[in-house]
């Protein structure tokens, strides 16, 4: 079953990045932005959507005097991502098996 929230290309990339890290690791917003080659506004909007779905946690804090935003995947997000990737693979497998 497709997960409509994760299915969107940028959100799938965000979840791929966070899912590759360990469960306790956070990814810095600026590092994620350069990794995905996108803008602050675009990334921020997609992160909000994922956070509302409970797929990621967003932590805003100060490191010294500098504000820092970091994100990580929640267990629910990891599960949803794994299921969605399995769904995508099943589409390819079905197409391969078709006569």
């Amino acid at each position: 079953m497709a997960d409509e929230i994760i299915h969107q290309s940028m959100r799938l990339k965000i979840m791929s990045s966070l899912n590759t890290l360990t469960r306790s690791d956070w990814l810095d917003f600026t590092r994620l932005r350069s990794l995905l080659d996108t803008t602050d506004g675009n990334l921020g909007a997609h992160l909000e959507t994922l956070a509302k779905a409970g797929y990621i946690a967003i932590d805003k804090r100060f490191e010294g005097k500098r504000p820092q935003t970091r994100v990580r995947a929640t267990p629910a997000g990891r599960k949803a991502f794994a299921e969605h990737v399995a769904y995508l693979r099943s589409i390819l497998d079905t197409a391969k098996d078709a006569p």
Partner: protein, 184 residues
């Protein structure tokens, strides 16, 4: 069906691409920690050779012991963090480094290498190893390795009586700079 399959294929390719980039960042972070550690030890040791000659031997024993302990601690921390990666990867990495150090030590002994050659040999061997690893990982590591290699070899030819200082500041500095370069 064809369109759905094409879209699924493109999305899965995106997932694999991003996962590869994140893994590369994690590997670079591990390597940079080792470069910071050994860059500082290298810089401290050779600065000691130049400025504190009578105590240099004792200082090197202490620095090398600290380096080995630091190496084990860094390896342990990264191993603990990499809960989803195979622990065999770390065992293989450890065996590779031990084999290279053993190989280097053997040829230092067999060729009765002089002091100048030895102090140039070790950072070039390290950068050679990093360059080989970079062929599987990425260009940034290759550039860091080539930088350390070039600075070390240049020192052998141009530093003359100041080779200790060169090794401390240029080679040690290039290792630390390499660590920052990988984390940029």
């Amino acid at each position: 069906m064809g369109t759905e399959r094409d879209e699924a294929s493109a999305l899965l390719a995106d997932v694999e691409g991003i996962e590869g980039r994140v893994r590369r960042i994690l590997i670079y972070a591990s390597i940079s920690d080792f470069l910071f550690l050994w860059g500082v030890i290298w810089a401290g040791g050779f600065a000691g050779n130049y400025f504190l000659r009578p105590w240099a031997d004792a200082m090197w024993w202490g620095l090398e012991a600290a380096g080995l302990i630091g190496t084990v601690v860094i390896a342990f921390l990264h191993h603990r963090d990499a809960e989803r990666r195979s622990s065999f990867v770390h065992v293989r990495a450890g065996i590779t480094v031990a084999a290279i150090l053993g190989f280097g030590s053997l040829w230092v002994a067999l060729t009765h290498m002089g002091w100048r050659e030895q102090v140039t040999f070790w950072p070039t061997l390290l950068s050679f190893l990093l360059f080989l690893v970079s062929l599987w990982i990425g260009r940034a590591l290759a550039l860091a390795a080539l930088g350390i290699f070039a600075v070390s070899v240049a020192g052998y030819y141009v530093a003359g009586p100041y080779l200790n200082l060169w090794m401390a500041f240029a080679t040690g500095g290039s290792m630390i700079a390499g660590g920052f370069w990988l984390r940029r």
